[in-house]
């Protein structure tokens, strides 16, 4: 992520985690509270792009996260960000479309997606 993009994102949604939509940090924090995310929980972030909000939630709550999306460049960016944030081992990515998640049922404690259905 370029410095200018990070600056813009910080001013718009309150954090710089590779978001380009309309869900703010406050809204993700509210979702986190409702999902009761904490260490030991496994979260699926559908449509994660470059890692928002899954990586943010993993860093903030201690949960583990698997992010899925289609653009490979974005997923590579997410993996790199996970490494920089010290989340290796708690954060992974899988290339998959929203309607074809390749996981067995009930593999995750919680599922999140932000501005994906639209």
């Amino acid at each position: 992520m370029s410095e200018v993009a990070a600056t813009i994102e910080q001013r718009v949604i309150g954090a710089a985690w590779g978001a380009n939509g309309y869900t703010t940090v406050q809204e993700v924090d509210e979702l986190s509270r409702r999902l009761e995310l904490r260490p030991g929980q496994l979260l699926l972030d559908v449509g994660t792009g470059r890692g928002w909000p899954g990586l943010y939630l993993a860093a903030r709550t201690g949960c583990a996260v698997v992010g899925t999306d289609m653009p490979l460049d974005a997923l590579r960016s997410s993996s790199a960000r996970a490494s920089r944030e010290g989340l290796t081992g708690r954060a992974g990515v899988v290339a998959a479309s929203g309607g074809e998640q390749p996981f067995l049922a009930e593999s995750f404690d919680a599922i999140i997606h932000t501005d994906v259905l639209c």
Binding site: A5, L31, R76, G92, S107, A110, L117
Partner: protein, 166 residues
């Protein structure tokens, strides 16, 4: 019972049930619009906003419980404005990163969407729900993620380390 099914059954017996929590945000067309206003909303919003979806009802139909919906449109309006303002402030740097005309085209799209939000044609909702506890069954622990292979019978488990499958 196949070997894969037996492994899953054995693992399932040892693990607590997943919590089945679901949370999301999405942009929707404001309900109750005239046909003309609805058409304008669909032209102005993201691609899939054209779907006629009452997300609360969909969650209920799918068996979720404890469904809660919150209107976060006021924040949506502020965020949409700020994206446009910030991109305007950095036009020179950002336009240079994209093909000629692409940045300007997207700014126009953002302004069209902003106008629709200002006219209460588009809304932003935050939803949370849970799988009905009576429908949940014991499953594997969250330290592993099992991927479906093509035939659905075999699986690749990444015990202790999450996958980076690309």
């Amino acid at each position: 019972m196949t070997a894969g099914q037996a492994r899953r059954a054995a693992s399932a017996q040892a693990a607590p049930p997943s919590r089945g929590a679901h949370g999301f945000t999405t942009i929707t067309v404001t309900p109750g619009l005239s046909p003309a206003a609805r058409r304008r909303a669909r032209r102005s919003g993201p691609r899939a906003v054209t779907a006629r979806a009452d997300h609360g009802r969909l969650l209920d139909t799918a068996g979720f419980v404890d469904i809660e919906e919150f209107d976060v449109t006021s924040a949506f309006l502020a965020t949409a404005r700020t994206w446009i303002e910030q991109y305007e402030d950095h036009t020179g740097e950002l336009a240079a990163l994209e093909p000629a005309g692409a940045f300007e085209a997207r700014q126009r799209e953002r302004r069209v969407q902003l106008a629709a939000i200002e006219d209460d044609l588009l809304r932003h909702g935050l939803f949370s729900a849970r799988v009905d506890p009576s429908l949940r069954r014991p499953t594997r622990r969250s330290s592993t993620v099992s991927l479906l292979s093509g035939d659905g019978d075999r699986e690749a488990s990444y015990g202790g380390r999450l996958p980076s499958c690309m």
